[in-house]
Symmetry: C2
Subunit: 212 residues, 2 copies
DNA sequence: TGAAAAATATGAGTTTTCTCATATAAACCT
DNA sequence: AGGTTTATATGAGAAAACTCATATTTTTCA
């Protein structure tokens, strides 16, 4: 029932503590500002981590793809209040109640080593993305994003979400898509999808977000 | 000799392994691309972490203020090559050779807990800064930066460095300083320093980078 | 099924930020 | 001390990105 890549992280048996929970699309897995009381393994589905500014604006901080983990910040006591996590499609999670097992985890070198490595990798990814975003205009970042997220030669994503993720306005994102189409690099297909006509141009202008 | 806040992180005695090393201003503590073979505690001085793009452009990723730690990424094996670290003034470091002690560290729950917490806090700070930077124009970010780094009512920093840190061109930074002066919020004093004339305006427009 | 909400789309005008050119002053080296 | 590099400073024009307005289509959900 609980996948081995989860149970293997620990040097003790977590099955007595683990709870299985499912979320529908658009359901909040963590509400912004709540105390988080569990360590959460996302084993199926995708979710996004977001933060609402006083501004009212919303930033997508990250996309979570299963399998992954969150709630480490709360486990470590590094932050009281969580950011929001919302299910992008049907999600399956395994919850480990912190109250019951945090003392076990703190003594578990196997788990702690795993967590350190997990945190390091996450930090590297974030830093790389951040540095990249600051130094290149949207065309370049978008080229990269298209290459990473296209299915073969077909790109098909929600503009609204992508705009938030790339940290630009919806309007500007559309503008840059239009530019890429005009340059004959993309072709606007039926309504929502684009076809990549010129992979090499796209690759040339793309910034490699994972080259750190 | 080695401060207790360093020795206290470990459950064993590190003194037999620790090396003491000093760096002059502008000396490279870590060269970009090298293998890093030590865990480094910066116990005195300030340093900056940077990354050179294929672009040629340089991003300041972070400022290190003592006391802090770096080299964790290499310890965890999360990255082969380090980013550059350069001393901004005289720096004193304690080096722990990874080859000799990494197996000890991996079994040391005290150290591992410390490292997890350290990584979490770093990640939170980075995320907060990142989200902030994406959503506010420079005036707001700069207002905040001025408040954080001013000495009383006197602000005095190198524009070149600040421009890099805030991820904008030198030209634009100067422009925004001029705007703040024109609005009677700052006053341009002798050559390099500015006096804050209107704290409350500055505070109003400032984005709080540490409100996560 | 029908109304409301969300996503797509495009135009026009503005703000933010960048590039490049150029000049002067300060800091650094040997 | 004198030459080199680095930091400060400013102008002009262009590119990048944003806001607001507005229209259409698609999705959601009661």
């Amino acid at each position: 029932m609980i996948p081995s890549y989860v149970t293997n992280i620990f040097s003790f048996d977590i099955t007595p503590y683990a709870k299985w929970k499912e979320f529908r699309k658009n359901e909040l897995i963590c509400r912004e500002g709540d105390d988080l009381s569990d360590l959460v393994f996302l084993i199926k589905g995708n979710a996004k981590l977001f933060l609402t500014h006083e501004n009212g604006k919303v930033t997508i901080i990250d996309f979570f793809k299963s399998p992954t983990l969150f709630g480490e910040m709360e486990f470590m006591g590094a932050q009281k209040f969580t950011n929001g996590v919302i299910a992008l499609n049907k999600c399956v999670c395994i919850l480990l109640p912190l109250r019951e097992i945090s003392h076990l985890l703190r003594d578990d070198t196997k788990f702690l080593n795993y967590l350190c490595l997990f945190l390091c990798r996450k930090a590297l990814r974030n830093t790389s993305n951040y540095a990249t975003n600051q130094n290149y205009p949207l065309v370049n970042r978008l080229a990269n994003f298209i290459l990473l997220s296209a299915d073969g030669e077909i790109y098909n994503r929600k503009h609204t979400e992508v705009a938030e993720y790339l940290g630009v306005s919806y309007r500007h994102l559309l503008h840059v898509f239009a530019v890429l189409c005009e340059a004959d690099i993309l072709q606007h297909m039926d309504k929502k999808s684009y076809r990549i006509k010129d992979f090499s141009s796209l690759a040339t202008m793309a910034v490699n977000e994972n080259s750190l």
